[in-house]
């Protein structure tokens, strides 16, 4: 019989939430780049910089939201 601790379950939850918040943040980046293309006239470094900044802020916003959501779901 294999014994698994609660922290192993916790790691699964963290992995799942990491997948979600990284995915959402990348979606925001794609949206940013797409908008940049639509509006047009931006130098490439500005678009890259803006994409990085958007990614950082999106990660900060979505990381706690997804993590606590999946933890709550597991507890239920």
């Amino acid at each position: 019989m294999e014994t698994r601790t609660a922290s192993a379950v916790d790691k699964n939850t963290l992995r799942l939430s990491a997948l979600c918040y990284t995915g959402t943040s990348l979606t925001v980046v794609v949206l940013f780049v797409a908008l940049g293309q639509i509006v047009g006239g931006y130098p490439t470094p500005a678009v890259i910089g803006g994409a990085i900044w958007s990614f950082i802020l999106s990660m900060i916003v979505t990381m706690p939201l997804y993590t606590s959501y999946f933890r709550r779901r597991r507890m239920r």
Binding site: T5, P43, P45, L57, M63, P64, M75
Partner: protein
């Protein structure tokens, strides 16, 4: 069974009364899906459960146990969490811990930097809980009590002050040089500032130690929080400083990368941002302890050493080692180590620090002394009655701590706002970035405009630099520190201030409720009045003289008038156990009369008494008695009625069949009843009195005290119902009464005020406890509550106004109209100023003095409310 995964937990269970309970719980657990084994130990009151965490969890297991009528009892851990200073930090700790398997409940409190954690010992250990808190970026220790807690808290605060002070010394000189370098080309600076200082590589060299020295704490703390899926204010600082620094580095080393070029290095933003945030942290550390000064002062009252007689020898030992019944010696100028009763000696003791009573209190054999109070003039010995946590001082400290740790309803809104704020600020920063990048820059941008506090012409920094700097400013300017600390700081100061005056609020909710009252009901007996009858009037019948040869045959010389009538009544009542009789005997003795025994004494139930003294008859009683015995009392009847209309009980006295006079007995008003009611009227409250007395007596008392409304003939058990009736009319009602006898009414009222608990504060019912039997303290409680709530509202107003006004400005709302936009460093300065203004506003509460005490202190004003102290030639209050 290969592949099945199990977890084991041990749970404490309450409610098991016999061995059959074991079977109940084991069956309930075994029926639960995912539970492979359940073993309950009745003796240890514990259940060991093996379960598959994929199919069952702790909540389901606990519910299964509770469903069959038992309770899963978590252990409690009290922790000091250093650095948890805002509502947001509370959220971080709460969320971080609640995510930990085995943690049942977390109650953090940022105002006291403490957290109570309820956990299941079989699943998680205190060490794991503490480690998680450390991982979140806070120092943690198990909560200490009393002096040790005081020392530890002071030590931690001083360490923080030193720490942030050191970073100030690092960041400010460098930030100043960076600013000079950045502004080098402006004003008269080119004449004084060497050219190399303006070089971008020099600025990089100066900025790097600022960001990775003083600024590093924000990166570390925010990373710790993010690891646990929580965001905090450090993240705001870290993203702001990090972004400004990174853009600076890129534009310094790769000026053609397209982020604004070498003219837009932003190093001064990163450096000044760090310096201002560190300044804010340092100021916060300096002022943080001030709001809890009162509790610190209370704790400092606990003496360290006691002088005790053991085995016939006087020895010195730590005060916490004194035992109940120890004989303790106190000399002049020493603090009393524990509570006790004086058995020998005489002194005056200053109890002001505990009761707010400004005058020293006389102590003689049989009197109680309170630990922590200061012995002034004489030496005495006392027997210890309460030691350790049982002493009045320990109880008061505990109550004040509890009150300071509690939350007022108004705080919940602020906490909710502050708690979710950080996340929304990042959403806003992202939206603002998008807006200025895609829309704002193209529509409103003017290349000649500049940021406030930066030298750059905005044309030089390009679309990305412009949008990201506004985004950073939003992050920094939005910090909700001030909102988070607005309520708890004022509540701490308010409860402390009240405790200084002998008024103990049991919670922040009690302060808020007290500030909203419409009506206040006083219990009559024992609250407005002294609760024991005393002689108020003696009227002598015309022509009666005990000592005159003709008027009397009594062999008592030298007594005439009132004293003679009183003596007769006292002799007749000497052996009576009736409260009115006892009042008469006491009244006679108080007037210096020696009361001899009567030769014969008969009680006539419902009428009075009949006695024989020196062979003569004395009658004392009502009209019916006099009528039956044929005593002609008509001449005194009008006076008797007048006394009765005043709420007094008039008793007729006759000697040898002739009327001698009237003795009036009544429950007398306590000192300051009238003044207290007057002040309550001034505060706009309706004042009521509740009593079981008949309406005439009750109204007579009410007239004297100027009570607005009387609730008479109310049985003790109906008092709570009367409070309820008043509440049903929409009024918020306070009830003032004895904490024990009036407990149901005190509990029913919006605010129950237990008066005169003395030293046994822990046993009292009620939301507010007054240590002294001084009705003026009811006024003090109202005034402190009003002042505290005023401060809370002012703080919240300033804090919310700051955020409401600053966030749009930070987001560039003014730019389209005035071409003005806030730089990140100015945003940091504004943020620090907002927190500081809230703290300083709270500290103004320290100057608060209750009206009655302020009036007393006015020069030239007669201290009309102060009791007069006669007899000792010194200002010592007799108890």
């Amino acid at each position: 069974m290969s592949g099945q995964m199990t977890s084991k937990i041990s749970l404490k269970i309450a409610g098991m009364s016999c061995a059959s309970c074991v079977a109940h719980i084991e069956t309930a657990l075994s029926n639960l899906k995912g539970v492979s084994k359940a073993q309950v130990n009745f003796a240890a009151q514990k259940a060991q459960v093996e379960y598959d965490p994929e199919r069952a969890d702790l909540q389901q297991i606990a519910r299964a146990i509770e469903d069959v009528g038992y309770e899963v009892v978590p252990d409690e851990l009290s922790l000091s969490v250093f650095g948890m200073r805002s509502a947001h930090c509370e959220g971080v700790v709460k969320e971080g811990l609640e995510n930990l398997p085995g943690v049942a409940r977390v109650e953090p409190n940022s105002s006291t930097e403490t957290a109570s954690v309820w956990y299941h010992a079989g699943i998680v250990s205190p060490a794991e809980i503490k480690e998680t808190i450390r991982d979140l970026g806070y120092d943690v220790e198990e909560k200490l009590e009393g002096r040790a807690a005081l020392d530890r808290e002071r030590e931690a605060r001083q360490r923080d002050i030193r720490h942030q002070g050191f970073w100030m010394l690092v960041s400010w000189p460098l930030a100043f040089l960076i600013m000079l370098g950045t502004f080098r080309e402006y004003w008269i600076l080119p004449e004084f500032v060497p050219e190399f200082l303006g070089d971008k590589f020099t600025l990089f060299v100066f900025t790097t130690p600022v960001v990775f020295g003083p600024g590093l704490q924000f990166f570390i703390n925010s990373w710790r929080g993010l690891k646990h899926g929580v965001t905090d204010m450090n993240l705001l600082y870290a993203t702001g400083i990090g972004a400004a620094y990174l853009i600076g580095v890129v534009n310094t080393f790769w000026p053609d990368a397209g982020f604004g070029g070498e003219k837009a290095v932003f190093f001064e933003s990163a450096a000044l941002l760090t310096a201002f945030i560190v300044l804010g942290k340092w100021l916060e550390a300096l002022t943080r302890g001030r709001t809890s000064d009162a509790i610190r002062r209370l704790m400092a009252l606990q003496p360290k050493i006691a002088r005790v007689i053991r085995k016939g020898k006087e020895i010195e030992l730590p005060a916490d080692e004194v035992l109940v019944d120890d004989l303790v010696i106190v000399r002049p100028g020493e603090r009393i180590p524990v509570d006790g009763v004086v058995i020998e000696g005489y002194s005056a003791v200053d109890e002001s620090m505990l009761t707010g009573e400004s005058m020293p209190v006389e102590k003689k054999t049989g009197d109680q002394v309170i630990g922590g109070t200061m012995n002034k003039t004489g030496a005495f010995r006392f027997r210890a009655t309460k030691v350790g946590r049982e002493t009045a001082l320990a109880q008061i400290i505990h109550l004040v701590e509890e009150a300071q740790a509690s939350k007022a309803p108004i705080q919940k809104l602020a906490d909710k706002v502050a708690g979710h704020f950080i996340l929304w600020v990042h959403v806003l920063a992202l939206s603002v970035f998008f807006f200025w990048f895609f829309v704002g820059y193209w529509r409103f941008f003017d290349p000649q405009s500049t940021f406030l506090l930066t030298p750059y012409a905005l044309g030089e920094i390009g679309v990305f630099g412009f949008a990201i700097l506004i985004s950073i400013s939003v992050l920094v300017i939005s910090c909700p520190c001030a909102v988070g600390m607005a309520t708890p700081s004022a509540m701490m100061a308010g409860t402390g201030k009240a405790a200084e005056h002998g008024v103990l609020f049991k919670g922040a909710d009690a302060i808020e409720a007290t500030s909203k009252l419409d009506a206040i009901i006083f219990d009559k007996t024992g609250t407005l009045t002294k609760g024991e009858p005393s002689v108020t009037d003696v009227i002598v019948a015309q022509g009666f003289d005990l000592s005159s040869a003709e008027g009397s045959k009594f062999k008592v010389q030298g007594l005439e008038g009132e004293k003679a009538v009183l003596l007769l009544a006292a002799v007749a009542e000497k052996n009576s156990e009736h409260p009115l009789g006892e009042a008469i005997v006491r009244g006679a003795k108080e007037r210096g009369l020696e009361v001899p025994d009567a030769d014969r004494f008969d009680s006539i139930p419902g009428h009075g008494v009949e006695a024989e003294w020196q062979g003569r008859k004395i009658l004392l009683g009502n009209r019916k008695l006099m009528k039956e015995r044929g005593v002609p009392f008509e001449a005194l009847l009008s006076q008797a009625e007048a006394l009765e209309n005043d709420g007094k009980t008039a008793m007729l006295v006759a000697a040898e069949g002739k009327p001698a006079g009237i003795i009036a007995v009544a429950d007398t008003l306590k000192d300051y009843s009238v003044e207290a009611v007057e002040e309550l009227h001034r505060l706009g409250l309706e004042v009521l009195m509740i009593t079981g007395d008949n309406r005439r007596t009750a109204e007579a008392i009410a007239r004297k005290v100027k009570i607005d409304r009387v609730l008479a003939e109310v049985l003790p058990q109906d008092k709570a119902e009367k409070v309820k009736e008043l509440q049903a009319t929409g009024k918020r009602v306070a009830m003032v009464g004895d904490g024990v006898n009036d407990a149901p009414a005190l509990a029913q009222a919006n605010v129950g005020i237990a008066i005169g608990s003395g030293t046994d504060v822990a046993k009292e019912t009620g939301h507010v406890i007054l240590i002294k039997e001084d009705l003026r303290d009811v006024v003090v409680a109202m005034e402190v509550a009003n002042a505290t709530m005023r401060k809370v509202k002012q703080n919240l107003f300033w804090a919310f106004s700051y955020n409401v006004a600053s966030i749009p400005i930070g987001a560039g709302l003014l730019y389209p109209f005035f071409k003005l936009v806030v730089s990140p460093e100015l945003a940091a300065l504004l943020m620090a100023v907002s927190s500081l203004s809230v703290t300083l506003n709270t500290l103004l509460l320290k100057r608060f003095a209750p009206t009655l005490k302020r009036e007393k202190a006015l020069p030239g004003k007669t201290p009309s409310l102060e009791p007069s102290f006669a007899g000792h030639g010194s200002e010592i209050r007799r108890r």
